[in-house]
């Protein structure tokens, strides 16, 4: 049979198929595998075409009917067309469905059967089915034509023999446009041709599995993706005379897939971007690390990093190398203990740092390679590098600062020392007179501790309340006090003789405090007193020698002279001369006695002063003829000869002044005791103290004052209420033993 005839027959069959497919259409290959099923067919079986495609036909045949069905298939092959049998099918829900089957067999070019086509009509409603057959014929056509699956029949030259409406819609070409055309001229782009060539080659060889998914072109030039199911159509001898292709436009699906792929790609890209970012970040990090490295290297402070566990250095900068005097290689061989001069303190600080304290160590002594020890200030921190704890130290050499600090400290200490250790007593006194600061020398002067003095009023420590008040008063007037004679109260009851210099510190017209410089002149005063005492003692000795020795001898001579006078005849020149001698000797004796008394007016007895004063009064009466009296009731004993002599000299000076300068006619001397003090008073009725003292008298007053100071007393020269002058000298405190002690002597 020629090919054209075969095609014609095939076309006939095809047409027959189309004509007969009123109801269910079911195609299966020779193995019974469903290759096509239409909606009607699947609906009859309670299924869907998708569920049925690829499934064996026998899945829808009851077990007991399968042999019969096989028999029918065999009969179909024997009688390929027009055979109609009655079959029982099994619906999806297990129910039976009786159908009439009009079966067809497709044959290949060699007339070998390749597939079955069955047209199914449900017998249960056979009549209505037959009746609707005609109606539904057009509908079926319409349905097939509406099927989204393009059916295209190619001849063996790969030219379009049939082009259904779905194909028209899918590819844009009408059937007339497509008929006779090769797909390469219609719907296959050049790029896809090799793939299609391969498929076509396989189809011509009878390959029934030569399916394909490939890009196709539409008439409008769109590229769509189609899934092709191709079935070679063979003559009975097996010659492939054509191919039935069914194509599904899966562009959308591909698009979806592409979109998915695209999304995946984008995701991939994103991942790549992210990776790139990470790499960039790593790079930046590395650069940043480099920055820190550079900083680490260029800071002027020494810096190093050591491993927390081993204390082994792992990083060190140039400054540290310079500071410690090692090469980098040497340094990195060291542990931290090599650079500290205080290993225990350093260890404690490192442990504190590692515990997270991150301390700043203001002073630590470190050690250079050559052993030089120097002070440093340390800032420490910790971090983790590659999972290992590290400690970082920034070291600042503070040798210079330390030296400066030490210098400052030393100066402060020197000043504090100067204050504390000054041999002068130093006081800071507040404007209210309270002691703000006191040095050791002052404390020694007072015999007290700092606590006993601090905050107390300065007058509490002065022998005379007036002195402190006087100094404070002068300071308040912005005066400077110099060589102010005062007496401080010492706890051992021996007052300390002092000279005070004081000045105020003024700020904005306000006295902040005053500085009192106290010089202890006790020793000087004692020395002066001792010198005076020696002088007095010498005078006294001289006086005594004159009085007790020379005068006695003169007395003896005078007695002998008197005897001589008696022995000589009366009224003779010789007797007169002897008498003259006796008188001269007597005068010499009297003069010598007076001289002795002047040198030693007060005898070494407790009553010496009262005797001497009484004698002074008597002598004044006798010599100057003025009314001079001495009153002393009750008796006052002054056992200290030094005090006695000075008081006597003061009285003598006062009496002398009263007569010589005051022209006094009456002088009263008084000596009284009151507790531990003795008061000498000399009052006169003279002309009083002149407003302008002659130099000589001023000198006399000053000597009186000096004598009073020497014995720890004070002299007051004041106008006497009854006219004239009153000189009062009071000697107080430990200078005089108590009355009882005196009496037992």
């Amino acid at each position: 049979m020629p090919a054209s005839e075969a095609l014609r027959q095939s076309e006939e069959r095809y047409r027959r198929i189309v004509e007969t497919t009123h109801e269910g259409i079911w195609m299966a290959d020779l193995d019974g595998v469903t290759t096509f099923v239409n909606q009607q067919m699947s609906r009859m079986l309670g299924s869907t075409p998708e569920q049925m495609l690829g499934r064996p036909v026998f899945d829808f045949v009851f077990e007991e009917d399968r042999a019969v069905v096989r028999q029918h298939f065999a009969e179909f092959l024997q009688q390929p067309a027009g055979k109609q049998v009655k079959e029982r099918l099994r619906r999806g829900n297990g129910a039976e469905l009786w159908v009439l089957v009009a079966a067809s067999v497709f044959f290949d070019a060699h007339n070998q059967p390749v597939s079955f086509l069955g047209m199914f009509t449900a017998i249960t409603d056979l009549k209505s089915a037959e009746e609707s057959l005609r109606k539904s014929e057009a509908r079926l056509k319409l349905q097939i034509s509406r099927m989204p699956i393009a059916h295209i029949l190619w001849n063996s030259q790969f030219q379009v023999l049939s082009w259904n409406p779905a194909a028209e819609r899918m590819f844009g070409y009408t059937e007339p446009e497509a008929l006779g055309k090769h797909p390469y001229d219609l719907i296959v782009s050049r790029a896809v041709q090799p793939q299609v060539d391969d498929i076509w080659r396989r189809l011509l060889q009878g390959d029934t599995t030569a399916h394909s998914v490939n890009a196709n072109l539409t008439k409008e030039g769109r590229t769509i993706t189609c899934q092709w199911s191709n079935t070679p159509i063979k003559e009975n001898d097996g010659t492939v005379v054509g191919v039935l292709s069914m194509a599904q436009d899966i562009t959308e699906r591909v698009r979806a897939e592409e979109a998915l792929r695209d999304a995946q790609h984008k995701l991939e890209m994103r991942v790549q971007e992210r990776t790139a970012e990470l790499q960039a970040s790593n790079q930046a990090l590395a650069e940043s690390g480099e920055k820190y490295r550079r900083l680490f290297e260029t800071i002027s402070d020494a810096a190093f990093v050591f491993e927390a566990g081993s204390r082994q250095f792992v990083e060190v900068n140039e400054a540290a190398l310079r500071l410690y005097g090692y090469t980098r290689e040497e340094f990195l061989e060291l542990t931290h203990s090599a650079i500290t001069a205080e290993p225990e303190d350093s260890e404690a600080a490192i442990q504190l740092t590692l515990a997270g304290a991150a301390p700043r160590i203001p002073l630590r002594y470190h050690k250079q390679k050559d052993g030089t020890i120097f002070p440093v200030e340390i800032s420490a921190s910790t971090f983790t590098l590659k999972g290992r704890p590290m400690a970082c130290g920034i070291i600042r050499d503070i040798t210079a600062r330390k030296q400066a600090e030490e210098g400052l400290l030393r100066r402060e200490q020197e000043l504090a020392d100067f204050f504390t250790e000054s041999p002068l007593g130093l006081l800071w006194v507040g404007p209210d007179g309270r002691i703000l600061r006191v040095n050791q020398a002052e404390l020694v002067l007072l015999g007290r501790t700092r606590d006993e003095v601090f905050g107390r009023h300065v007058s509490e420590f002065h022998g005379g309340v007036k002195a402190a008040a006087d100094v404070l008063n002068r300071l308040a007037k912005r005066q400077t006090v110099q060589n102010y004679r005062a007496r401080l109260r010492h706890t051992d009851s021996t007052p300390r003789e002092v000279l005070i210099d004081a000045n105020g510190l003024w700020e904005q017209e306000r006295l902040v405090h005053s500085r009192w410089f106290t010089r202890d002149i006790t020793r000087r005063v004692e020395l002066e007193r001792a010198i005076l005492a020696i002088s007095e003692r010498e005078q006294r000795r001289l006086g005594h020698d004159l009085h007790d020795d020379l005068c006695q001898q003169l007395a003896g001579i005078e007695f002998l002279s008197q005897r001589l006078v008696s022995d000589l005849p009366a009224r003779t020149t010789v007797r007169a001369r002897a008498k003259e001698i006796a008188q001269m000797v007597q005068r010499a004796m009297t003069q010598t006695r007076d001289l002795a008394r002047g040198l030693s007016p007060v005898r070494l007895e407790a009553e010496g002063l009262t005797d001497a004063l009484r004698e002074l009064a008597a002598g004044t009466r006798k010599v100057f003829g003025c009314d001079c009296r001495f009153r002393c009731d009750p008796p006052v004993l002054v056992p200290d000869h030094s005090v006695a002599i000075h008081l006597y000299r003061i009285a003598q000076e006062a009496v002398s002044n009263a007569i010589k300068h005051g022209q006094a006619r009456r002088i009263e001397l008084g000596l009284t005791a009151n507790g531990r003090s003795v008061t000498l008073a000399v009052a006169d009725n003279g002309t009083g103290i002149p407003s302008k003292l002659p130099k000589r008298k001023g000198m006399g007053l000053r000597i009186m004052r000096y004598r009073a100071e020497v014995i720890g007393g004070a002299v007051i020269v004041e106008p006497h209420p009854g006219g004239g002058t009153r000189v009062v000298c009071t000697v107080t405190e430990g200078l005089l033993p108590s009355g009882e002690e005196r009496n037992t002597k």
Binding site: H547, D548, D549, C551, Q552, Q553, A555, G556, I557, E558, F559, L560, S561, Q562, R563, S566, D567, A582, Q583, Q586, M589, T590, R593, D611, R614, E615, A618
Partner: protein
């Protein structure tokens, strides 16, 4: 003066013990007193202790003592002598002014106070009546007293 002296010669001379630590004074005094017919220096002592020891042998009627002596003071000596020999009178002589000691001497029991610098005439009486009898020592006045070896019936001011 001579007449006075001759009147007294009938009586036994008054025995006088001189106590003074100065030998020249003792010598001068002895010469002065020995010249008087009614006075007899019966002994000399240079200290209070010597004087007290010499009293029994010398049997003085009067002790003429200096107030200033080594060891005991003149005043102490008067008290001791009064206690041990109540009948012996003491006359004190001194270079010191009478205002100092005269009163104390008289209180201690002394019969009189003579200032040496007044000269030997004052001691033996000089132009005043000489020393005789038992009542020649009462010479007192306020502030002190003076006396001489001879009775001195007047007061000195």
């Amino acid at each position: 003066m001579k007449a006075t002296r001759s009147q007294r010669t009938a009586k036994a001379p008054k025995r006088i013990l001189i106590v003074d630590d100065h030998p020249i004074t003792r010598y001068g005094l002895t010469q002065l007193i020995s010249h008087e017919p009614d006075l007899l220096v019966c002994g000399e002592a240079e200290s209070a202790a010597q004087a007290l020891a010499a009293i029994n042998a010398a049997r003085p009627d009067l002790v003429l003592a200096d107030i200033t002596m080594p060891g005991k003071s003149g005043l102490e000596f008067i008290k001791d002598l009064q206690a041990q020999h109540p009948g012996v009178a003491v006359l004190v002589m001194s270079m010191h002014d009478e205002t100092i000691y005269a009163e104390r001497v008289l209180r201690a029991g002394g019969r009189g106070y003579i200032m040496k610098n007044e000269g030997g005439g004052e001691i033996i009486g000089g132009d005043t009546p000489g020393l005789a009898g038992a009542d020649l020592y009462k010479q007192e006045h306020v502030g002190g007293s003076v006396g001489s070896l001879h009775p001195a019936p007047f007061q000195r001011g």
